[in-house]
């Protein structure tokens, strides 16, 4: 995992295409004319100083915010499809899952229930069957429980299965957040600062989980991260945003040498 990977990584076709997206809140321009793409199986990082519009970008992809201009195309059933005013439900259906910068776990629920909620999209038994917990509903519940247990094993959180998430330490909560997103069995995973506020050991664990997900399941990863050593180590391509504009795009090495990026991070003397 040292800088400058020597192994040629295979990435596939474009899975998310962002074209000329602009987003403003009243007079505040969060994003102006941002375009980039994400290819299958790659680890794509979005970096930039605070307030650069990184989280807004993820919210646009998720359908939480609707951009004033530009289009987002998502791969669905093998072809890129353009969505207009997507709602988050459609985006989730197209196989995009998300973790949050400030933990957005369901505080009143156990670890198990939090991750089970990630399976809701795949559970279909109707309200009457659930009310009586008749055959199909009970069977469905157990099938999905098995899938969730595999995720719990993968993230090594077996011991906290039935603990309310509010009682867990921060690092573990981040892991549960990842587990909830994984429960969707997504083709793309959007991670908003998965390592914020962690110590070195926790960061290493989280890196390992992210790379394992990428390796084993072939999941495409889009991540926002401030820790440059992590970004440079694990990502295949990096987008750099500053004040809502794209100022750099390329491999970690290209981005590192980009003058505009260096200026944005270190400042320029006038």
């Amino acid at each position: 995992m040292s800088g400058g990977a020597t192994v040629e990584r295979v990435t596939g076709e474009v899975i998310i295409a962002v074209e000329g997206v602009s987003l403003a809140f009243g007079g505040v321009k969060a994003l102006s004319d941002v375009s980039f793409d994400v290819r299958e199986h790659e680890v794509r990082a979005i970096i930039g100083p605070n307030g650069a519009g990184k989280s807004s970008m993820l919210n646009v992809i998720n359908g939480v915010y609707h951009p004033q201009r530009g289009t987002i195309r998502l791969k669905m059933d093998g072809t890129l499809r353009e969505f207009h005013d997507m709602d988050p439900h459609e985006v989730a259906l197209s196989g995009i899952a998300r973790t949050f910068q400030n933990l957005a776990l369901f505080k009143g629920m156990s670890v198990l229930d939090n991750i089970m909620t990630g399976r809701n999209l795949r559970m279909h038994s109707n309200i009457l069957l659930q009310a009586l917990r008749l055959g199909p509903a009970a069977k469905e519940e157990i099938e999905h429980r098995e899938a969730v247990e595999r995720i719990i094993d993968f993230l090594e959180i077996q011991a906290w299965r039935k603990t309310p998430v509010g009682r867990l330490p921060y690092g573990l909560q981040k892991r549960v957040d990842l587990g909830r997103a994984l429960a969707l069995e997504p083709s793309v995973l959007l991670l908003d600062e998965p390592m914020a506020g962690m110590n070195v050991e926790e960061k290493q664990d989280m890196c390992r989980f992210i790379l394992d997900v990428n390796d084993h399941f072939g999941t495409t990863i889009v991540l926002i991260e401030h820790d440059m050593s992590v970004v440079m180590d694990i990502s295949d391509r990096v987008v750099v945003l500053d004040y809502g504009r794209k100022i750099g795009d390329g491999t970690p090495d290209e981005v590192r040498g980009n003058q505009a990026v260096i200026d944005a991070y270190l400042g320029v003397s006038h």
């Binding site: 988050p88 998300r98 776990l105 369901f106 505080k107 089970m116 809701n120 038994s125 157990i142």
Partner: protein, 354 residues
Amino acid sequence: MFYRENGQYKTTYAADQQMLPILQDRVFMAGLLVVAFVAVPFFASDYLFLSLLIPFLILTLAAIGLNLLVGYCGQISIGHAAFMAVGAYAAYNIALRIPQLNFLVVLVLAGLIAAAVGMLFGVPSLRIKGLYLAVATLAAQFFTDWLFARVKWFTDYASSGSVSTAPIVMFGWTIDTPVKKYCFLLAVLIVFTLIAKNLVRGHIGRAWMAMRDMDVAAEVIGIRPVYAKLSAFAVSSFYVGVAGALWGFMHLGSWEPLAFNLTLSLNLLFMIIIGGMGSLLGSYFGAAFIVMLPILLNQLPTLLGVPISTAMISHLELMIFGALIVFFLIVEPHGLARLWAVGKEKLRLWPFPH
């Protein structure tokens, strides 16, 4: 020492997901059911049934309904007595116009009508939340108060505006004595509690709780707010509608529109706040607290032989009642159900400190 799960291994997910996973709990529940169905009917007096147990059972059902909405889905409503009124008047009109219909069918139909009305008044929840939603649900309260007082069709053109019901006959069994009413209501309550428990531990319950805890995250993992919120309003109003029909037919017998006013709505809200939001058990505790405490306070001076005038007693009753509510909320803001859970946790370790 006696309450612990050591040695009770679960080898299937089905066993792990059952309602009462610990053997001692199952034994306790079985004992409780025997007491409720066998011992109580033998020993309780008519007074106890009419002023305590029957209101307790019906209001518990209503509190469970409200708890599904407020405690589980996080959508506050202070107009729930309106849906009780809808249930009561719907049941009255159905029973009046189709007398041969079985009372159980009448109950379900009344619940369904209340559910439809509840969904209608739940629509604002898609845009507003918190206190603003609470104010919007007040509209339901004022609307039904007006509707049942003014539109005479609902009260069968009774000149006084009040309606009265005949004793219920079901499968050739007349439910007229307090004991019969108690047994019938207890059975209904148990069935509805089981259904509520199944719902909240199924995926619809998780969708509700996800909306309550973090709505943006819930949407992003694919839960549709429209479906989650409106289904919570529908199920909640169904429960409350059935409770309203039972309140009218089994407890009041005859009633006027004011029977389902804002005070009742607020009482329901107190029940779930004191009992515990997001807890079915809490609905039982809360209803018991609100129903029994005033009666207990009323009887206490007489029992203790303290000579106080009845006017004084009724004033004191209100004051002590208010003070106790404040006291319980300070001691345990999460309600009596949390106290119960903490007690159980302690019992598991007893007699050791850790």
